[in-house]
Amino acid sequence: MRLPIVIFICAFALAACEGPDTELDPHELKRAQHGFTALSAEAGLLAEQLASHGVPSRFASVHQQALGEESLKLSRQLAKPVPPGLRTAHDKLASLNARFQIEVARIAQASSNTSDLERLRESFRDMKAQAAALETPA
């Protein structure tokens, strides 16, 4: 009975871990790209919902924090040694993600100003489009 439990715990731990020195592979970059486009889309939706009073401003501060944390997680995923073939797409995505972190932290502050919210929404839409257009090797 003990051996299966040990094997199970090891398999479970392995499933959750990843080596720190492994290079970023195309699949991971693709995943990060998808994750980023989804994050920008959601930040845009938050700005839109605030402008249309679908959600109150106190929701914005909590949700922007959650989106910011996801973006930080993405930064950590991208902070791996990058092979030359992925460098361009990686750098672009990392810079978009850095811009996202600055912009997302502004949503709650802008919650009472419709034009600021509209500007942020446009910015997120632009980031999403740029990330989606990145050519990552399959």
Binding site: F8, A11, H34, A38, Q49, P56
Partner: protein
């Protein structure tokens, strides 16, 4: 009249208590990734939980034996203890995710930091469970959790393609424009496990004994498990429809509890937002209570300690200490700062591995004419029960490899 009221309350509480944070996450995210393709999993999972819920309730009514007494009797002390430890790890992890979810809702309501709200959520749960009697715990969380029905209204308001949705009731593989077959199966297993979470059976059977069920209450059990869980399944389907009709077209990936609120606020505005927040608060709070009490029930039943929420806490000090410890441990895990959604993904996938060990003794006892007499499983229930056990075993074997292969559903 009283029994009709009891039945209605039973149905509503099991409907209101059906959805917890794991279902919220796997349904909305599943809809956002695969559209209506995972609707069939809800049907399969709901029939399974209704089937095993009814069996465990019947055993509680006829034999007055809760699930963990059956587990101890079936497996013996050593193997039974392994099941107890694994089950309670899942209970505490799930409780952690639910308490973390509760803290997020309090954060939104009071515009405060996460950690103080986590403390507030934990204290609120401890006081509520300590003070309220079992029936009232069920009713308060179950009935107020009905606010989640706002997602059913939202699903209709989003005007989805119903014929496409109907096609989702038939299992089929995802197309090339989706995140892939392995991710699809990861979500299918996760959703199946979220619906059949073992704590629901521990809580349901122990609840039957708390409520003093006898063979006279078998109809109440049948209707509560049948109608209540099936209506809960309809609510879970509504959440998938919301994911498919709102999140998928916009390319959203709702991996945070707060993301699920958009599902009601976009089609219904601020009213939808308020109902969604209230519904999530009570559904998640109810599930936190259920997981904590289930942890206490499991330990007490396994070691033959006196237990019961219907009793004064001073009469059952060890049982009271166990469920309180589960809440405190849940708070400690949630305080680590891990996203509750990440915790719930681990607990849901881990739970599916525990499922066969929890469900098998229930099936064996419900199937045994020497124990159950005239209340033994009918042939159709027996066949379905074994078919489901095979399905649960297959899901248990596939769960961990799928989690590793798909990086927890990220592809």
């Amino acid at each position: 009249m009283n029994s009709v009221l009891e039945l209605a309350l039973g149905i509503m509480t099991s409907l209101g208590g059906f959805v917890d944070i794991s279902e919220l996450v796997f349904t909305v995210a599943g809809g956002a990734k695969f559209g209506f393709l995972l609707l069939w999993v809800v049907v399969v999972g709901t029939v399974g939980i209704a089937l095993y819920g009814e069996m465990s309730g019947r055993i509680a009514a006829v034999k007055r034996e809760p699930t963990f007494t059956l587990i101890r009797n079936r497996y013996g002390f050593r193997a039974g203890l392994a099941v107890l430890v694994a089950s309670n790890i899942v209970n505490v992890l799930t409780c952690a995710a639910e308490v973390g979810g509760l803290a997020i809702i309090l954060q939104i309501v009071f515009d405060a930091d996460y950690r103080p709200m986590l403390l507030a959520a934990g204290v609120l749960l401890l006081v509520t469970v300590y003070v309220l009697r079992f029936k009232w715990i069920e009713r308060v969380f179950g009935l107020l959790g009905l606010a989640l029905l706002v997602y059913a209204v939202a699903a209709v308001a989003l005007k989805p393609d119903w014929s496409e949705a109907a096609r989702g009731l038939v299992p089929r593989l995802p197309g090339p424009d989706t995140p892939g077959t392995a991710v699809y199966f990861y979500y299918a297993v996760g959703l199946f496990s979220a619906i059949l979470m073992p704590y629901e059976i521990y809580f349901y059977s122990s609840g039957g004994i708390e409520d003093g069920w006898t063979p006279k209450d078998l109809l109440v059990n049948k209707v509560t498990a049948g109608v209540g869980f099936v209506l809960g399944g309809v609510l879970a389907m509504a959440l998938i429809v919301v994911g498919a009709a709102l999140y998928l077209p916009q390319g959203l990936d709702p991996q945070r509890l707060s993301s699920t609120v958009f599902g009601a606020s976009v089609p219904l505005g601020l009213v939808g937002f308020v109902f969604a927040l209230a519904g999530i608060f009570f559904a998640v709070g109810g599930a936190a209570v259920e997981t904590a009490l289930a942890a206490g029930y499991n330990i007490a039943q396994f070691f033959g300690i006196r237990w019961g929420k219907r009793l004064n806490p001073r009469e059952v000090p060890l049982f009271t200490l166990c469920w309180m410890t589960a809440i405190v441990l849940g708070m400690a895990v949630a305080a680590s700062g891990i996203n509750p959604v990440d915790i719930v993904e681990y607990s849901t996938i881990f739970a599916v591995v525990v499922l066969p060990f929890s469900y098998y003794p229930v099936l064996r006892v419900a199937d045994d004419p020497k124990v159950m007499g005239k209340h033994v499983n009918r042939p159709v229930i027996r066949v379905l029960g074994w078919a489901y056990l095979a399905l649960i075993c297959a899901a248990a074997l596939a769960a961990i490899p799928l989690m590793a292969m798909t990086h927890m559903g990220q592809g």
